[in-house]
């Protein structure tokens, strides 16, 4: 064996050294499996929703569809109860509720997902920077962040919308910024915990650069808790965006999302129409599903996570 081969063998055996315990597989409870099913369902609907829906979202259904033998000649098409024509009934203008929910999935989930991504991009970058950077930087970022955190999210949203109005880019940018503050807190606290651990100390003594420490030591150790937090944050952002739309300050007509569907059909509620209920149930299936999955994952990773997330 030549020296080259010996060195090569040494390197490979070094690479094969287990530097972490073997991964345990996450076992999902029944609740978690139901959660996965619903999340998967809605992800598929984001992509194919408009193609599988029975009608177009803007189509006002024809009266002739609702004529029953022996019934009225010209029946009302609005607030129709569920039937074979419209599986989930019709809304206040006589549009098919099911089709509108399937179309709206793209808007609601899309906007919320982009806002969550933005919040993470900002929050994690600044949070890790505060954790590894100088004391002065940490102090500056944290105080600034605390000030923003002391305003309730919905108030912040209302003030911004009062000032600049509500368009989709503003909605995404604003929500991303508002929630970046809480992501920052989680990322900073996770980063600080790893920063004081022995293996980071060892890496520093070894003479590794800051970038190496961030990408090789810190990020791998915070990625799992952050992923779980991403799920929860996504739920809160869906609820936030839906609430704004419900108040008439989120997604503006003619575009529509689940929250604004609830708002426009609220008038049917006293008459027992289910048209405002259905879009909010769509929101609930998605948010509860994500929560169930997150529950299983955080139980798997020790369950200490919830302490950080208040």
């Amino acid at each position: 064996m030549s020296i080259d081969e010996k060195i090569k063998e040494k390197i490979t055996s070094f690479e094969e050294l287990p530097d972490a315990p073997p991964r345990r597989k996450i076992r999902f409870s029944i609740g978690g499996k139901i959660g996965i099913f619903f999340v998967f369902f809605w992800i598929v609907m984001v992509f194919i929703g408009p193609y599988v829906s029975p009608y177009n979202e803007a189509d006002i259904l024809d009266e002739s569809l609702f004529i029953v033998p022996g019934g009225e000649e010209y029946p009302d098409t609005d607030y129709q109860p569920p039937s074979k024509v419209a599986f989930l009934g019709t809304d206040y203008l006589g549009r098919d509720t099911l089709s509108r929910i399937l179309y709206g999935a793209r808007t609601t989930i899309g906007i919320s997902f982009l806002a969550t991504l933005l919040a993470y991009l900002l929050g994690v970058t600044l949070g890790i920077a505060a954790a590894v950077g100088s004391e002065w930087l940490d102090m500056f970022l944290s105080r600034f962040n605390d000030a923003f955190l002391s305003i309730p999210t919905i108030m912040m949203g209302l003030v911004v919308i009062a000032a600049v109005g509500s368009t989709i880019p503003i909605l995404i940018g604003m929500t991303g910024l508002i929630y970046a503050t809480s992501v920052f807190r989680v990322a900073r606290s996770l980063g600080q915990d790893v920063m004081v651990s022995d293996f980071v100390e060892a890496a520093k003594v070894r003479g590794e650069g800051l970038w190496w420490i961030i990408t090789r030591e810190i990020l791998p150790n915070v990625v799992m808790p952050l992923a779980t937090d991403f799920g929860l944050r996504f739920v809160w952002i869906i609820l936030f965006i839906s609430s704004l739309s419900f108040l008439g300050l989120g997604v503006q007509p003619p575009m529509s999302d689940w929250g604004s569907m609830v708002k426009e059909n609220l008038g049917g509620l006293p008459y027992g129409s289910i048209s405002p209920l259905m879009p909010s149930l769509a929101i609930a299936t998605l948010t509860i599903a994500i929560n169930l999955i997150v529950d299983d994952i955080s139980a798997h990773s020790g369950g200490k996570l919830s302490n950080r997330m208040i």
Partner: protein, 322 residues
């Protein structure tokens, strides 16, 4: 030391309020969106726009406007409504618009606090006494579902049950201002019920987590091991240590009421402060929005401060931060 720690927290509270006022002012004042144009509409001439801007004090530089606004705010002058939303017309004193709405909102919040705190604490205590039991799992699952669905769905489900199916209660809470006794209670019932459901779910979860956390601490384990009866452990060992965290939980949840109030007042058309603020946002009545936002954020900051002080007072270790 205790006095110093509390004083420090109060000073931080005031500093936070100051920063919040800057953020609210910047958020509404420096961004585009000209009230003068909204008031005068499309028929406005450049001259009348300029005259109105002058009258509304919009020609000063931003920092002067901020100081003027803050000074007026501190002396109780909330300014004039600029767009005339809801009951007011252009030029109504904002304090006149806000006063009756604030009373309504406080009445609602007071009722909710009065009902939900004892109810939720006992349920939370019940769940934490028998962790893992059927009753604990039922409570945990129900509260998790309630906090992960939108607030308006909770409201709608309750309307479906109590107003549509049973017909017991009205589905909106319209008030003309001179209701008394039974009428007032009837109008308040649905919004209160909704908020109690939302807030209780939060308090139950946090109470349960807090007590379980304390019951798993080493000194309780020690007490169990040396054979202290369960009743004595709870009353003598853990109760005093729970008071701080529980006050913390209550203050935090009262602060979170703010988010719920915005939705619930809209669903039931309840004439409270949050509804006034939403109307203000829709008509871009910035002075009104600023005033309402300051009231809500001020309450929020004070409640969070009370929560923090409760933990400082009850936990001596927090008095000497490392």
């Amino acid at each position: 030391m205790l006095f110093q720690a509390v004083l420090k927290r109060i000073l931080i509270g005031f500093a936070t309020l100051f920063v919040v006022s800057i953020i609210i002012f910047l958020g509404t004042s420096l961004l585009p969106g000209d009230v003068a144009e909204i008031i005068l509409g499309q028929m406005a001439t450049p001259e009348s726009l300029a005259a109105l801007r002058e009258k509304l004090g919009m020609n000063h530089p931003p920092h002067t406007r901020y100081l003027l606004w803050l000074g007026n705010l501190l002396s109780g002058d909330l300014g004039m409504s600029k767009a005339g939303s809801g009951a007011g017309t252009i030029g109504t004193e904002i304090s006149v618009m806000i006063a009756p709405r604030l009373v309504n909102t406080l009445r609602l919040a007071g009722m909710v606090a009065l009902i939900s705190i004892p109810l939720a604490m006992s349920l939370g205590l019940l769940a934490s006494m028998y962790p893992g039991s059927r009753i604990d799992r039922t409570i945990t699952f129900t509260t998790l579902s309630i906090i992960s669905i939108p607030d308006f769905l909770v409201a709608m489900i309750l309307v479906m049950i109590f107003a549509v199916q049973l017909g017991w209660l009205p589905s909106i809470a319209y008030m003309s201002g001179n209701e008394t006794g039974w009428q007032l209670i009837r109008a308040l019932l649905m919004p209160t019920l909704t908020l109690v459901t939302i807030v209780s779910a939060q308090i139950i979860r946090m109470t349960r987590a807090t007590i379980l956390n304390i019951m798993s601490s080493p000194y309780i384990e020690m007490a169990i091991l040396k054979g202290v009866p369960r009743k004595r452990i709870i009353l003598r060992h853990s109760l005093l240590n729970t008071i701080g965290p529980i006050v913390n939980v209550i203050a935090l949840n009262l602060a979170w009421l703010i988010g719920g109030v915005v939705i619930v007042e809209t669903v039931f058309a309840y004439p409270g402060l949050a509804k006034l603020m939403i109307d203000g946002v829709q008509t871009r009545d910035l002075p009104l929005v600023q005033a309402c936002a300051m009231i809500f954020c001020g309450t929020y900051v004070v409640l969070i401060m009370i929560a923090d002080m409760a933990s400082i007072i009850s936990n001596p270790r927090l008095r000497h931060p490392k």
